[in-house]
Symmetry: C2
Subunit: 160 residues, 2 copies
DNA sequence: TAAGATTGAGCCGTCAATCTTC
DNA sequence: GAAGATTGACGGCTCAATCTTA
């Protein structure tokens, strides 16, 4: 290439990277701890319930549910199995595609979500938004939007 | 309390939160995939090697290493055991405290780190910094600094 | 042949209990 | 008794393989 990228981080990048890495390590752990204590499930499982709750018919195809929760197909399949054993989610055949499965939030699952949501939101406030002013919240929304560009596309254009 | 916090998120908070959650889900997965393919270790294990490499004597107490890598004591103990089996880290008794253990990076471990670092940094650039201009990098550093205030202190002041 | 979904094997992580030293 | 560190038990996650339908 004609203008190679620098080999290591420079300027404000090291501090930004270290801060981001520490956030990636600590925030999910904090969310998991709080939700496990409150509702007995991880944050990933909570997201499954929450995304189903907001979908029409409280149901979504497995593939679509995997996409919106940011998890792999196998991980989602195991999560739904676990939630199904607790009676919080059901599986149904997809009427439009014989290969597909649809996950449906049960009334019991919805009740768990409704019960857990307030303390979860309080934790999110306490851990995140209490420390940011409105401008910083906007900056966070803007930054994550740009970061997700590089994360949601697994394939990357060749170097040429 | 006299001025209760709103029960749900408002303004730019929902978008910021969803963006942050998706980043928390996708970025660690991307880092793990790349490092596992390149060096056969997770990002958490890489951090252990990297933090030891930057420490005086290429060694740190277990408790201090857990703190700087943002992991729990039990998690770190298992990580060091695994790295020790590969000959990349050694354990030694702590001369100043009979209860303590010191983890030391071996030459082999250092070689692994040196070999893996360039492609890892390239991945960090490709996933993160290629999508941000200098001002945004500063904003990211500033934002994570504020978020870590709420994450590094596990105990929180009572509501009163 | 490809896409949707699941499963088996194995590693990684947490929680609680334990052991040692302070 | 408290702190540093480790371990047993168990659940969650990834990778690769598999099964079914399109």
């Amino acid at each position: 290439v004609s203008t190679p990228e620098p080999a290591w981080l420079r300027g404000d990048e090291p501090e930004a990277w270290l801060g981001l890495v520490r956030t990636l390590l600590l925030l999910p752990a904090a969310l998991d701890r709080q939700l496990r204590e409150e509702a007995g499930i991880s944050h990933a499982y909570y997201l499954v319930l929450a995304m189903l709750s907001g979908a029409p018919g409280r149901s979504l195809r497995m593939s679509e549910l995997a996409r919106v929760t940011g998890t792999s197909p196998s991980r989602l399949s195991r999560a739904v199995s676990s939630l199904q054993e607790r009676g919080w989610v059901e599986r149904r055949a997809c009427p439009e595609d014989g290969r597909g499965q649809v996950a449906v939030l049960t009334d019991a699952g919805h009740a768990v979500l409704v019960q857990a949501a307030p303390t979860h939101v309080a934790e999110v406030r306490r851990r995140v938004f209490d420390h940011l002013d409105p401008g910083e919240v906007r900056a966070l929304a803007s930054l994550t939007r740009k970061l997700l560009v590089g994360l949601e596309a697994d394939e990357v254009a060749p170097v040429g």
